[in-house]
Amino acid sequence: MTSNLNLRHAIYWALFAGLLFAMPYLVSKGDLRTMIFALYVGIFAMSWDFLSGRTGYISFGHPFLIGIGAYATAILSYRFDVPVMFSIPLAVIITMVASTMFILPALRIKGSYFALVTLAFMELMYQLVQVIRPDLTGGTRGISGVETITRGAVNGFYLAAFLAFCVALFLWLLTRTRLGAAQSAIGMDEEALKGSGINATKLKLFTFVVSAAVAGLGGAFYVHYLGSIAPRAIFDINFVFTIIVAALLGGAGTITGPLFGAFFLTFLLEYLRPWLPGAERYLIYGGVALVLYMYQPKGMYAIAAKLRAGVMK
């Protein structure tokens, strides 16, 4: 399993952990708040990348998974006084189970049909939380006053950073296994994979459940960071695009690239705020993302790799 791991990898991960740990000493609290959002978007983008970036099964419905985790813990803790230390793991399990039930039929279809089915799941969830037991979900207004795990920017940052680091490391390690190699083969040639005797459906299901677990985990912590949840905030097409663009800009199929893509997008938007407080900054945001993607379709990960190769020469 770990034959392709070496000291260089360990050093990179240690540097990454050290950088995250030092961040509160280096930047303002305002920037830390922005980083918290970037870290959560990064977790969602990594979850998306693990499924879509590596297998080629494009999901437009990732907020469906995030929302199940977020709503599950919000309802358990807010409505039934379940302690957060139990409601979050339960939410992750609920996300995994619910996503399996929903996605199993969808795994038989491919390409744009799969993308459309996942998009339909998100829309379905958006409608369901409003009409099914609004006394639990809060209906269209959602729930405000969900217990927050942390107070203050520094604590919130450390929690989000720890979570993002663990998710990134876990997914990265998973991709270094034989399972990970087989998983990326789905995206290259699924028929050939089947010919090699590997059960592609089981592999896809495994990939989807792992992706769902990460999305559910991220969603659960996210709602306990925000302190509120509303259907419009989660099951939103703009939210899907933010996740996908972060993954693509960072570098699809690279796991850690989407995390950096999320940082780039979130900071670009927030740094434009003082100069362009209105909707104009979204034009800049879209333009920069477009130019960057046209210049390097493989994302910032590829740019960083090129730079590193240049320095090493």
Binding site: S28, K29, G30, D31, L32, R33, T34, F37, Q130, P134, G139, T140, R141, G142, S144, G145, V146, T148, R151, G152, A153, L226, G227, S228, A230, R232, A233, D236, N238, F239, E270, R273, P277, G278, A279
Partner: protein
Amino acid sequence: MISPLKTLTGAAAIALAASAVTADIKVGFIGSMSSDTGLSTLRGAEIAIEELNAAGGVLGGQKIELVTADTREDVTEGVKAYEYLAESEEVDFIISGSIDDVSLGWLPRMIEYQIPTLDTWTSYIGIIDMVVENPDDMKPYFMNIASDEALATLYINFGADVLKAQMGFESVVILAEDTAFGQAITGLVTEALAPVAGIEVKDTIIYDINTVDFAPLFSKAQESGADFIYQVSSVNSQVISSQYVKLQVPMAMTGVNVSALGLEYWEDTGGAGGGISTLSPIPSVGFELDPASQAFVDTYQAKYTSRPVMPHFNGFNAYQGLKQAFAAAEEAGGFKDVNGWNAAMSKQDLKLMKDDKLWLRYGFWDRDTVEPVTNRTYPQNALFDLEAPYDFAQPSMVVIQWKEDGNVGVVYPPEYATTDFTLPSWVPAK
């Protein structure tokens, strides 16, 4: 000869001294900067700040600086915007032109930061319930628009007095958009209008906010056999009303139409908006203004030429509310002492008179006073009066109607009415 170093040191000292004298108080605006309602709050706050600065400043002569944070009416953007104002800009006070779910999104941040915050647009009674249940955490929060429960309560009187008694309507079909706002108003109408006013709800039709063709929905409404349509529309409301007029739907249509709250409504509907009536918080279009409110509108219209040409009700709320927030800060020694500021803000009471009659009142319900009609408390919510002759405060809302010639007036309650409620010319009387 003076050395360059001494000159530099002297200049720095002068700059420091100057900054100490004119240290700014920061006010943050949170809301949509691309909607007429959001801009109304922003501009109302801007005018109030200009006037306070021109009068010598606040809190010992300090100047007020306004910083803005756009929410795009998006819940998550609202949380980010509040964090930006609190952490990056470190504002002293926040004025909000946010819609319901956006306010609910940033409320946990307000509780965390404890920054005095005034909501001028959100009317969700659930937030006042939070003040009742959690008074300590919610001390920084004030809402200076009547909560939606109060709006609906008075609207039921309109249903009973005008729709049922005058027009003879016995039944209604609700045509509501699929939003938080739509759901809330629909709930209030079905739970209260029907049983209290004695009007039967025949059907409830929910439509998507991206609907562009309302003809099938109007057909369905007619098939219900109801006497009139109650529409609830806050997004692209001009579409439903202009199609109602163009299709000459032979049923009266009233309810809540947010686009009809602004003077741009006639232009937005291409002149096809006559006959529509909607409830509106006060002051509405077509509402007679007291001299103080008229002066604010004159200043507004001299300063801004782009839409909205007339501030929506929340523009007035922002203008008066921001001044009251600073009056409270003067009494409490600033905004830092939230308990002190809350106590001082709760006592703010501005009575605006018109022709020797109490016309508008900007004040807040205290913790203990029970409103006699609804029999509940409304701490930190704007004062309102649900019973004629409205000598305690203004009504929680009025009903306005756009006429087929493009004029608009208040049709209910009678004490504030400027015109009569009429059916559109193509709708047969019952």
